[in-house]
Every structure is written in structure tokens, then in C-alpha cells.
Symmetry: C2
Subunit: 315 residues, 2 copies
């Protein structure tokens, strides 16, 4: 990343985005953050805000003129802003389209207007739908989408790839498993934690507890993106991003209740899926990124515990 | 298609759409056409307009309230409206997003409002980008997009698939090669025909003439869609749609100049691609649809000749 000096981060106040901002600033890079604070928090940027190399601009990725102006002078974009919650897609089908697909188009257009050509984009393992191969490699069979979130991120990938071909962009696309750690703001650990704080005697679980999922600690995720951007130099670079392990929901429940020293009655909603579009098994083959020298340092169990510690200190 | 009686066709005044309308009316089905006439023509619907089973509504797929009202009472949607021209994508990058991705979202939302759940959707072989396998099957490796058109159609596929999972829709997605025949309105045969009418002594060709492409005659295309909708009953049914042959651009030039009895000097622009995002080799594996009993009746050569005859009679 030696040639990069002024980095634009959309979703800078969000969970992964704000951790990324801190890590970029630690490298003494100049960073411009952009966020509409719809799901991001001011407090996530407390540390960054003290750094003279950091500029924060309040704005929406759907506001193309503002976005274009904000990006002026930057030379690399991390487009972290997104509707990141897969679960509620069918309750508001336009949200993923707007916040993930159309917003990504706007980011690309703002880049083009500013003659920027380098973009990193967090996509999702959800783009694989329900694959037949585990662990699932990047080049698995052409997938069928099962969620509006996955569909919207796949659309974002496609747009970025077309800009690489059509306008000479270079892109790093990362298909994330669920990310955990400090500033975690949605997902099952938060859901379970909140439920147990409200009622320590019972825990209602969506699904049958057997769904197998993979997770990654946020700092490992950021390490991985840095390694890929430094070492992978194709026009379009696509990497799965996860650990070499998966857990089932019941494992996570046990770790959470043990940590909190609780013994609730577990009530399962029953099906092998927690909600419409829930994927009963997510396990990505991350050998492409491992081959570049990256490896995760934190186990899924420790990522869950780190997340719980953060939630306990940030009620 | 026995349960289908009132069919909604977007892009009804377009090339494939209007041929489809005629074929549906021949089956004594009730048809509602919808078109904004941006690229469609009134004259394509002359025959349909005489049929009491046909209703035509002028409207834009981007106008959701109008679209939703127009669809009322229908029970099957052929969403044929699209920006179908892959070549000029980089000149107006928002056009494919709006007319293919967002318009498809609107069609799905209008269907949901009307409690319609069955949709046929023409996608494109362009979603395969530049595949490594020929002929290219539907389940080839996860592709990388090379055109804004392909990206916008892939996004449409993903949205439709997510609606199948999330809202109980059933879909037939067809990945077309280039279609030819009566009412053909864009593509290389029209380009070459117009150039030769203007200057019979010279023909400027984009690329080196060696690009290998596959084509399908429009009536064979419509036959294929009917067979698939009747016989394939998965939640999401995806079929390649082409012939078992491919030609190179030089073949087509020879057929066209022979037919027109011209002997122009051919001037090639030189590269193996005609334009940015042009795919030098398109050849789809159509065995999935062949297995259902469909086969194309018209060769690529005859499709080119049929198209030329149409152009000669409809200057």
C-alpha cells in the first residue's frame, strides 16, 4: 500500500469501517471518512477524531454530488457502507437494492468523476446462496441467490467488475463470513446477549441450533484486506475471507451462557433455517488469501468472547 | 401453460417482446402489453392490435404505480423490457442499472403488490463474462462480469432468485445468445446492412472478424421459452438459450455480402474485441433445454438471411 496516501472510507462510523479507519491511521495514512450515521456511531470514531490525518464528512452514499465532492483528492476507496443485515431483507426489499447496489454504483461514479480507479469492496459469502461444495471456493459453480442481501452484494460485485473492464479500475472484492469483535453492532451474539440481559432464564433461538456458520474476528479481517491489496495485482481480485473452522449455533450459545454464567432454558423455533434466506451452512475456502501469507490469529470462540467483552463494556 | 390465461408482457413493442405477444395471441391467450416505446415500435404491434384478446398500455417500467396498476388481473409476467444493447454501456453507465436492474426490481414489486408469483426473464450469455469452458453450461464457475449490460442482467437474475426464496415466486430465467429475425432492431446485421446501404464499396468492421458468436432465431427462442415454462417446475429454472453452433464475424459478413450481391472492401478495426466488454467467444451449452424436447429449427445462417429479408422489406 506504499502508493496509497489518501484513503476514502465509506461507512467509516460503522463496525468494520471504523476499525479499518483506526488501522489506516495507525499506518500514518491520511483518511477521509464518509458516513450518514444511519447505523454508524460517533463514538466509534472517538479515537480517529483525535488524529490530524483524519477528516470526517457526514453524507449519504445515495447523494452523488456530495459523495463526489467528498472524494476529491483521495486515491483509494474502501466502500464499507452497506445495509449489512441479511435477516430483514424481505421486510423492506428496496433497502438492499438502494443501500448496496445503487450506493455502490454511486461510489463508482464518484470515483470516475474524480479519476480514482482503486476500490476495495466487502461482499459476502451469502452470494454463494446454498452451495453444494464445502468449504466453498471463490470459483464454485454459478450460484443462485437466496437473499436480497446476497443479491444486492452480487450486483455490487458485478458493477465493480464491469468498471474494471470498462474504465480501467482495479478492485479487491472480499466475500466475508460474519465478522465479530469490538464495535459489533448486529448479529446473533448481540441478539442473544440482549435477550439474556432482559430474561436470563430463557433464550429463544431462531432455527434449531444446528445451523453451521463461520465467523472472523474484525482485526483478522482487516489484516486480510491489507495483505490482499498489497500482494494481489490482478484487474479483479476476489477473495473469500473467513477462518478454517465453522461452529454450530449451539456452540456459540454454550460459550455465551458460560461466559455470562447463565443457564437459561433454550427454546428453538425449530427449522434448520433461522429466517427466510438463512443459510444453514456457511464455510468458505480461504486458501487463496492464505496463499498470500495471511492467516487468522483469533479462533471463532475467542472472537465470540471478545465480542461479549465489548458488549459488556458498551451497554 | 394451461393454467396461464392473462399474460403481462413488458417490452411488448420490442423485437422479441412483440414476436412473443403474437405467439401468445395465437394460443388464444389474453395478453396485456406494456411498453414506453423508447426503443419499441407501434408497427411491431399492428397484428396484435387487431386481436380482441390484446390490451396495450403505454408506460415505463420505472413508473412503479403505473406498472402496478397495469399488471392488475394478470397471472404471468414475461419481463422482456430492457436496454438490450451491450455495446454502448460505458457511454452511459446508469442506463443498464436503471433499465435492467431497477426496472426488474419494479416488475417484481408490482407483481408482489398484485400477488403474482410467476415470471419469465430474458437474461444473457454475457453474464458469463469470458468463461474458460465452451460450450458454456449454466453451472460453470462463478463468473466475473465484463460489461455493464451483463452486470445489470446478473443483478436482475439475483433479484428474481431472491424473490423466489423470499416471497414464493417461481421463475424461468433464460440466458440468451443474440437473437435474430423479424423486427430485429440492433446488432451487427443491422449495423452492416446500414453501412453497406450507405457505402456498398466498403465495410468497416469492429474487431478483426474472428470473434466467434452464437445466435438464435427469434421463433426458436420463443418456442424454447414455452417448452421450459411448461416442463420445468423448479422454484428457479435457469436455461441457456442458443444453437449448437457458432460462427465467426467473417462468416456473417460473407453471408450478408453474398445475399446483397456486394463485394465491399473489408476494413477491420483490428483487435480481437469489437468494443470494450465485447466477448471474443460466445457459445452456450443448451443441453438442459434440449433435454426437455426443444430444438432450434433454424440455422444461424438462415437466421441471418431471415433478418436481412426483414430489413430489406422494412427500411
Amino acid at each position: 500500500m506504499t502508493l496509497i496516501n489518501n484513503i476514502f472510507v465509506t461507512g467509516a462510523a460503522g463496525f468494520v469501517g471504523s476499525n479499518l479507519v483506526d488501522r489506516l491511521l495507525q499506518k500514518s495514512l491520511t483518511v477521509t471518512g464518509y458516513d450518514n450515521f444511519s447505523t454508524g456511531f460517533e463514538k466509534n470514531l472517538e479515537q480517529a477524531g483525535k488524529d490530524p490525518n483524519f477528516t470526517m464528512i457526514r453524507g449519504d452514499t445515495l447523494d452523488l454530488p456530495n459523495l463526489t465532492e467528498a472524494m476529491n483528492g483521495c486515491n483509494f476507496v474502501f466502500h464499507m457502507a452497506a445495509n449489512a443485515d441479511v435477516r430483514f431483507g424481505t421486510q423492506h426489499p428496496g433497502k438492499d437494492l438502494e443501500q448496496n447496489t445503487i450506493a455502490t454504483f454511486n461510489v463508482l461514479e464518484a470515483m470516475r468523476a474524480n479519476e480514482l480507479t482503486n476500490i476495495a469492496f466487502p461482499s459476502t459469502g451469502s452470494v454463494y446462496g446454498e452451495p453444494a461444495v464445502f468449504p466453498t471456493p471463490e470459483n464454485v459453480s454459478f450460484p443462485i441467490q437466496t437473499s436480497l442481501y446476497g443479491a444486492s452484494k452480487l450486483a455490487g460485485e458485478g458493477l465493480i467488475e464491469a468498471y474494471c473492464e470498462g474504465y480501467g479500475f482495479q478492485a479487491w472484492i472480499f466475500r466475508f463470513v460474519s465478522i465479530m469483535g469490538e464495535r459489533y453492532s448486529h448479529g446473533h451474539v448481540l441478539d442473544f446477549y440482549k435477550k439474556l440481559m432482559a430474561d436470563p432464564g430463557h433464550l429463544h433461538v431462531l432455527g434449531n441450533g444446528k445451523q453451521r456458520k463461520s465467523y472472523l474476528y474484525v482485526q483478522d479481517c482487516i489484516d486480510a484486506m491489507f495483505v490482499a491489496i498489497e500482494k494481489a495485482q490482478d484487474k479483479v481480485n476476489i477473495f473469500n475471507l473467513g477462518t478454517d473452522e465453522y461452529i454450530c449455533v449451539d456452540d456459540s450459545i454454550r460459550w455465551i451462557t458460560d461466559y455470562l454464567k447463565l443457564n437459561p432454558r433454550i427454546i428453538y423455533s425449530g427449522s434448520d433455517r433461522g429466517w427466510i434466506g438463512d443459510n444453514p451452512f456457511i464455510f468458505l475456502d480461504c486458501m487463496s488469501l492464505r496463499a498470500l501469507g495471511w492467516e487468522p490469529k483469533v479462533t471463532i470462540r475467542d472472537a465470540v468472547i471478545n465480542t461479549l467483552q465489548y458488549l459488556e463494556h458498551n451497554k
